[in-house]
Symmetry: C2
Subunit: 196 residues, 2 copies
C-alpha cells in the first residue's frame, strides 16, 4: 500500500533501479552461479516474473547490472561472419571500436575495475567468460573451443589492463591500426592455429 | 631512549620490519616514484643510511617490501644468455619455475592481488615494469625495447590473471610444457619479431 501511495508501479524507473541494485549486490556477493532471478526479485521486493519481463534471462540481467554501454553479444555477433583467417582482425576491430570510443570507455573502465577489485574475479570467471567470451568460440565452431577462448581472454585482459586501466606507454597511445597489427597474429593463432 | 630501553638496535629484526612496513605504506600511498629512502627512514624512525645499508637501492627496497620469495632480477638474468630465437622459451621456463612452485606461488599471488587492488596499479606501472620488466629488454639490447616489453607484460599479466589468480580451466591445469608451447611464439614475436 505504501508503494501505491508513493506512486510506484511495476516497471517504473525506481523499480528497475531497485532490481538492478539487488542484482549487482547478488552478483558481487554470490557470484554469477549463486545468483537467481528469484533471489534478486525477492531482495528488490518484486515478483520474479517482473524481473524476467523487464530484463529477460539471467545473462541479460547480468549484462544490465554491469551497466555496459553496449551489449557485447551484439558487438561480437558480426565478428563471427566473414573469412575464418581474418576473425582476429574483426574481433580486435570490434573490441577497439567500443574501448577507444571516449563516450563508451568510462563505463567499460568502471566494469574492468570492478572485476579487478577483491571478489570481482567471479564476475569474470563466472560472468563474462561464460556469458560473453565462450559463446564466441562456440559460434565459430572451434575445436578445443573453451581452451582457445581462455587463451584469447588471457591476452585481451592483459591488453585492457595495460592499455586502458594502467595506461602504460607506449601501448596506451598506440594507434588503432597498430594495436590490430600487433595483436591480430596472436589472437588468430589462439583461435584457429596449431596448439598443444 | 624508549627504544633502547626496549632493546631495539639498528638492524634488529623489529627495525627491519618497521622499515619494510613504512616502505610498503609509502609505495602503496605515494607510488614508486613518490617514495624516497629518506621518507621511509623518517617514517620508520631510523637513519636513511641504515635503510641503504640493510636494503640497498630503492629498487632493492621495493622488491624487499613486496616480500617476493625470489629476486626476479636473478631469475631473469640467465634468460638473457643463450640463443636469441629461444629467449621466449627461456623466459617462460623461468617464469613457470617460480609460479608453478607450490612453495613460492602463495607469496607471488599475494603480490599479484595487491597489484590488482585499488591503487595497486602503480606498483606495476611505477614498480615492477621499470624495476623488473623493462631492464630485460635493455639487457637483450632490443630495438623498440620499451614497446616490446610492454607487449610482453600485456600477455604475461593476462596469463597470471587467468591461470593463477582466477584459475580458469583448462588454462589453470595446463601442463608446464604446454604453457611454454602455447605462449612462446607470442612472446618471441613481441620480443624479436616484426612489429608495427
Amino acid at each position: 500500500m505504501a508503494r501505491t501511495a508513493r506512486g510506484r508501479r511495476p516497471g517504473a524507473p525506481d523499480t528497475r533501479a531497485a532490481v538492478l541494485a539487488a542484482a549487482r549486490s547478488s552478483f558481487a556477493a554470490q557470484g554469477y552461479r549463486g545468483t537467481t532471478i528469484r533471489a534478486v526479485a525477492s531482495a528488490a521486493g518484486v515478483d520474479p516474473a517482473l524481473v524476467h519481463h523487464y530484463f529477460g534471462t539471467k545473462d541479460d540481467l547480468f549484462l544490465a547490472a554491469m551497466e555496459l554501454p553496449v551489449d557485447p553479444r551484439a558487438v561480437v555477433a558480426h565478428v563471427v561472419d566473414g573469412p575464418r583467417d581474418e576473425v582476429a582482425e574483426r574481433f580486435l576491430g570490434a573490441f577497439l571500436s567500443v574501448w577507444d570510443d571516449p563516450a563508451v570507455q568510462p563505463a567499460l573502465l568502471t566494469v574492468a575495475r570492478r572485476i579487478l577489485e577483491p571478489g570481482g574475479d567471479r564476475l569474470l570467471s563466472e560472468g563474462f567468460l561464460p556469458v560473453v567470451v565462450q559463446p564466441i568460440g562456440a559460434m565459430l565452431g572451434l575445436d578445443q573451443s573453451e581452451h582457445r577462448m581462455t587463451l584469447v581472454a588471457s591476452q585481451v585482459m592483459g591488453l585492457i589492463l595495460m592499455r586502458y586501466v594502467l595506461r602504460v606507454e607506449p601501448l596506451a597511445s598506440l594507434p588503432h591500426d597498430d594495436v590490430i597489427a600487433t595483436y591480430a597474429p596472436t589472437l588468430q593463432r589462439y583461435l584457429t592455429g596449431d596448439l598443444p
